[in-house]
Symmetry: C2
Subunit: 201 residues, 2 copies
């Protein structure tokens, strides 16, 4: 509570939130994509679901005021505040070892999928599946011809997004280790982000 | 093989395909949305995944020539042919009882989620989760302001899509029972569709 956590570059972090508490994700350096997930603390098979959320918000990018829906179609988080330009992604899967294999990486490569699993195991909350993440600050334009782009984030240093927990939940993030496709800025350098847990308003 | 199946209005159907076989989904009346899924026959935890597919095809709507990727980032189906105008959906979850509850339905309502589960159980292939479906003929425009629309399908009677199995797999479809939001045509009337299994080309 009131605590500030570092999400180290290329790594993940999970925290438990009580209903009413708030969490803020800070893009400290302004160039970092942060994959995020939320799970019902009482039932890991209920989680924030991008495909259900898009129906709920009638769109592909949530904004302040929106309820972020689970796979049981109820809000698990409310989006309270966004000091960034509001460009986030809900359509792309978390990176994983197969993504990096397809990009030509031969050895191990950190991934948001592995980061989520390790962060959840670290707090004693293992899950069977990795839901599609809410990719904070990720810039994937959908063009009129239905193609997509892979663009650097447009956020500025210190930009943040804030959510309120609508149930007791586990919130997890990963500072995306993607260093081949330039989503984390043209420099291809994953960096730290930060996370704050705030008292009930 | 060579068999034509009816997918009754509001119901589901699952078939097993061998690698190389083809499956064709026919929008017999031209107004019906058909949710579809594919699972690796040897491992139900590997399945066609919209969030991974969108990365693979660099877009939100697959077209002939595209490989439709699993959550392990390899093609499970190849999209061979599309005689429809090419408008399908990959961003919306299958309808479920919570969707109809939120739309004001009080009793039971058929849903693509239940249809998938029942169709898979009927062939002895139960799964733990319901992946986000490939919604054939479903017309969900994504607008420049990131909002989405819920529009009637633009397909014509007899339009079809054809896929080749890239591994032994279970293919499942649901003739969407949505009769409150007009995605199945302005008449709000779910109707039959058909499915054909074709020999290896």
């Amino acid at each position: 509570m009131g605590k500030r956590y570092t999400v180290p570059a290329r790594q993940g972090l999970a925290v438990r939130l009580k209903k009413g508490e708030q969490v803020r994700v800070i893009n400290t350096h302004g160039t970092q994509v942060v994959d995020s997930w939320a799970f019902n603390a009482a039932d890991p098979t209920e989680f924030m679901s991008m495909e259900h959320m898009r129906q709920g918000i009638n769109g592909i990018i949530p904004k302040p005021g929106d309820g972020l829906m689970t796979n049981k179609r109820r809000p698990i988080l409310t989006f309270l505040e966004d000091t960034s330009p509001g460009i986030h992604d809900t359509i792309i899967a978390a990176c994983d070892i197969w993504r990096y294999r397809n990009l030509g990486v031969e050895g191990y490569h950190d991934s948001c999928t592995d980061n989520l699993r390790m962060a959840l195991v670290a707090i004693g909350f293992p899950v069977a599946e990795v839901p599609s993440p809410f990719n904070l600050f990720m810039n994937i334009p959908v063009r009129p011809d239905h193609s997509i782009g892979w663009e650097p984030t447009v956020s500025k240093p210190g930009d943040s997004v804030t959510f309120r927990a609508e149930m007791d939940l586990v919130y997890a993030v990963s500072a995306c280790p993607q260093d081949i496709v330039p989503i984390n800025g043209a420099g291809l350098a994953p960096v730290d982000a930060h996370l704050e847990v705030l008292a009930e308003a």
